[in-house]
């Protein structure tokens, strides 16, 4: 009872110290904000990007028209996708009719108006995407004269010229030149090459006697594609909803990694503060080192639980609300996966295991040090171990059962993160139980070892310098340094 009381009081103080600090409330607000910024910034940036002007100079008017048509088709596709997303949000039932009305009209403005007319009024107004490329008349024909426009020294219709596509020759001797001061955006060149290749193939086939409709039919040939998962009921196709849990698992693994890293650091700084100002000495006349260790772990775990609870409730509400607006959308699938009880349970278990393992390690290392600089030299190797799961996220997403990922799952320091990552992959009981057993055994050993280190550290029996010296001497006997505090 006395043991529990000590643990409770330490945990309570730790919890109240963090929750009462303004930093807690700042992180409570800024973390979701940061997440939102990370999610929405790319979209906002792409919207903010001005339309890029491209000029086409073609010896063969037909080839030039084919390239122009390719760019117009791209813009049409982007507008259609935006309309589809808008329709899913404001009037999902009428979405197919709206898209059909769009497809029925060749003129882009007319198609947009027709699609919007098919939707019931209400909801947010439609915001058409900013055109990515605009075809503009060429201000000159030779490279030397075009150069000032491409470098921004001169403008075309009030804007700089992003690129010039020069189509030289015709038929099978067609040559495409791409002129641009931007050497990284190859998309316009690729689109033009594809358009010209299609046209060259079509012309070649027509020259061999095939009619234009027949050529178009052949060009459009592609196998019907259906994906199945042997673990789902026979005959049911794999949909986007089935793959959503894998994306959700990646997101949760990042959150898990960040949380474990963050709260472990909290423990490190907490024990460093108490060690450096000798509060630990006063505490040790009332509670044992083990009580302090457990109390701190519990207190900071409760801080994390509070954060997760608030974020979870707000996030689940937000996700459910947003998903309800577009039930058949990609976001709804992702949100649904995030809210799956099995993933949430996996996250909770993996967090508990990861937190206990790394939290105990950081506490023990903090107890050996007198300053954050000293602590950094000791926690470096632990950070290195922590990066292993992050390096395996890519291979694990491509193939959750890849040999390297499956093998790494048995490496206990990486197990919580990789099990989280592989959770939706339909692991066998052995693939779950084995690594978990290894993890539990390692966790017990880490906790025992951490408790011993912590005890030695807080009672000034062992210091960071001793550990470094012992590791450095690799078993060689060296004199024990005198304590730095007043003897």
């Amino acid at each position: 009872m006395r043991l529990l009381r000590g643990v409770y009081l330490i945990a309570r103080r730790e919890y109240l110290a963090y929750v009462g600090a303004w930093g807690f409330w700042v992180s409570l607000i800024t973390t979701p904000l940061l997440l939102a910024v990370m999610i929405f910034t790319p979209a906002l940036l792409s919207r903010a990007e001005p339309t890029r002007q491209i000029a086409i100079i073609a010896d063969d008017a037909g080839a030039g028209a084919a390239v122009r048509a390719a760019f117009e088709a791209q813009e049409r596709e982007r507008l259609r996708a935006a309309l589809a997303a808008h329709a899913e949000t404001v009037d999902p039932k009428s979405a197919p009719a709206a898209l059909a009305a769009f497809d029925a009209r060749a003129d882009l403005d007319a198609a947009r108006r027709a699609a919007l007319a098919a939707l019931e009024l209400g909801g947010p107004p439609f915001q058409a995407p900013v055109a990515r490329y605009r075809i503009t008349p060429a201000p000159a024909r030779d490279a030397e004269a075009l150069a000032p426009y491409l470098t921004g020294a001169k403008e075309v219709e009030g804007a700089p010229l992003f690129a010039v596509l020069r189509v030289i020759g015709s038929g099978e001797a067609t040559r495409l030149e791409y002129w641009s001061a931007n050497l990284t955006d190859q998309a316009p060149a690729a689109r033009a090459r594809t358009a010209l290749a299609d046209r060259m193939r079509t012309q070649a086939l027509a020259a061999r006697g095939l009619s234009a409709p027949e050529v178009a039919r052949i060009e459009g040939l592609a196998p019907a594609f259906v994906q199945y998962d042997p673990r789902t009921p026979a005959g049911r196709e794999v949909t986007r909803r089935d793959s959503a849990p894998f994306f959700a698992a990646i997101a949760l693994t990042f959150v898990l990694w960040g949380s474990v890293f963050g709260v472990s650091n909290m423990l490190l700084t907490s024990v460093l503060e108490e060690k450096s100002n000798k509060i630990l000495d006063a505490l040790l006349t009332s509670v044992t080192p083990l009580q302090i260790l457990i109390g701190k772990l519990l207190g900071v775990a409760c801080v994390s639980a509070t954060l997760f609870l608030i974020w979870g409730v707000l996030g689940a509400g937000g996700l459910a609300q947003t998903a309800a607006l577009a039930p058949s959308g990609q976001f709804a699938d992702f949100a649904g996966a995030l809210l799956m009880p099995s993933l949430a349970a996996a996250f909770a278990l993996c967090f508990a295991a990861g937190y206990l393992m790394y939290g105990a390690m950081f506490l023990a290392l903090g107890a050996l040090c007198d300053s954050i600089q000293e602590a950094q030299t000791l926690v470096g190797p632990v950070f290195f171990v922590l990066t292993i799961p992050i390096l395996l996220i890519g291979p694990a997403f491509e193939n959750p059962n890849a040999p390297i990922v499956a093998a790494a799952s048995w490496f206990p320091p990486a197990t919580p993160f990789l099990l989280m990552l592989r959770a939706p992959a339909g692991l066998t009981p052995g693939e779950i139980a084995g690594p978990i057993l290894a993890l539990v055994i390692t966790l017990a050993l880490v906790l025992m070892f951490a408790a011993r280190l912590f005890r030695a550290g807080v009672s000034h029996q062992l210091k960071a310098a001793d550990v470094r010296q012992r590791l450095g001497s690799a078993g060689r006997k060296r004199p024990h340094p005198a304590p730095s505090h007043g003897a």
Partner: protein, 313 residues
């Protein structure tokens, strides 16, 4: 008044040894602190005072020797009756004095309500009532130190260990801490504090132990220590009289301090037994024209310096 164990010492330290590698911090130290006394642990910096105190409260395990604290070993049960102020102290800067005192009192086993009441009463009694709900970081160093001592006293311990309680404090705050210690002692608690400032020990302690190089150089009552201090007297003679030459046959060491308007001043080391009377008798016998004869009061500082000089390496 607490039911202190007057019959037996509150603390017995026997043959304590503690080494850090080749450095021997405590080397066979033995002493005992009577219950209800104010006991001083004296010694220069690095003598082994803090290590000894940490061993006494069980933070550090000794290599050899035994500590008997309040009749038992320094385990959690015994330490619940002990208050401890560590050296180089600090507090949780974002907590309030009231919360800190309550927290430490609860860790010692007090119920929440009782702990809060004690905290309020102590803060009020020591002039910190208005600061009770402000954060520690807004308090002066002296105030914060008082708060930490109050935190060590809140559970009304039988034994209080204060490691260098006066260090870093201005004279006013030193006075306040002295008052705190006297109040605790008046309430029947045994107070043990370490210091290297002899004036505090001399004013407050009943008994002291002087530690040098981890060993006990002296263990006893303050008066006994003072008796070991070298004694001297200040003398003044008229005109150009040479007192040193006059008293040389008597074997008395006289040091000339310089001239004054009326004559010359001298310092004489007093013999151990009945020194002042023997010096005066020698002066009279020599017919010395004395205008001043002032035996100096023995101080613990002088005893300390002498004992340290005599201490084994």
């Amino acid at each position: 008044m607490l039911p202190a164990m007057r019959a037996s010492p509150a603390l017995i330290v026997e043959g304590l040894r503690k080494s850090y590698g080749a450095h021997r911090a405590v080397d066979g130290l033995s002493f005992s602190a009577p219950a209800g006394s104010i006991f001083g642990v004296l010694g220069p910096n690095g003598a082994g005072k803090s290590t000894t105190m940490r061993i006494v409260v069980g933070i550090i395990k000794p290599d050899a020797g035994r500590v008997t604290l309040l009749g038992g070993t320094p385990d959690q049960r015994t330490l619940a009756r002990v208050g401890y102020l560590p050296e180089e102290r600090g507090l949780y800067r974002s907590m309030t004095p009231r919360a800190i005192i309550t927290y430490f009192a609860r860790l010692k086993g007090l119920r929440a309500r009782t702990a809060r009441q004690r905290a309020d009463a102590l803060l009020e009694a020591h002039g910190l009532g208005a600061w009770g709900r402000r954060k520690i970081k807004t308090l002066s160093k002296g105030m914060a130190q008082k708060v930490q001592i109050l935190a060590a006293l809140a559970h009304e311990p039988e034994f209080v260990l204060l490691d260098e309680p006066f260090s870093g404090l201005d004279p006013v705050n030193q006075q306040a801490v002295e008052a705190l210690i006297r109040t605790a002692a008046a309430a029947g608690r045994t107070v043990l504090f370490s210091t290297h400032v002899m004036e505090h020990a001399e004013r407050m302690c009943d008994r002291i132990v002087l530690i040098a190089n981890g060993k006990s150089a002296f263990d006893g009552r303050v008066e006994q220590a003072l008796a070991l201090a070298p004694r001297s007297a200040l003398l003044e003679t008229e005109g150009g009289y040479d007192l040193a030459a006059a008293l040389a046959p008597a074997g008395l060491a006289i040091e000339a301090l310089g001239g004054t308007d009326a004559g010359r001043r001298w310092r004489a080391a007093l013999p151990p037994q009945d020194g002042a009377r023997r010096l005066l008798a020698a002066c009279v016998a020599a017919g010395a024209p004395l205008t001043l004869f002032e035996p100096a009061r023995a101080t613990l500082h002088d005893a300390f310096v002498r004992l340290l000089a005599d201490a084994p390496p």
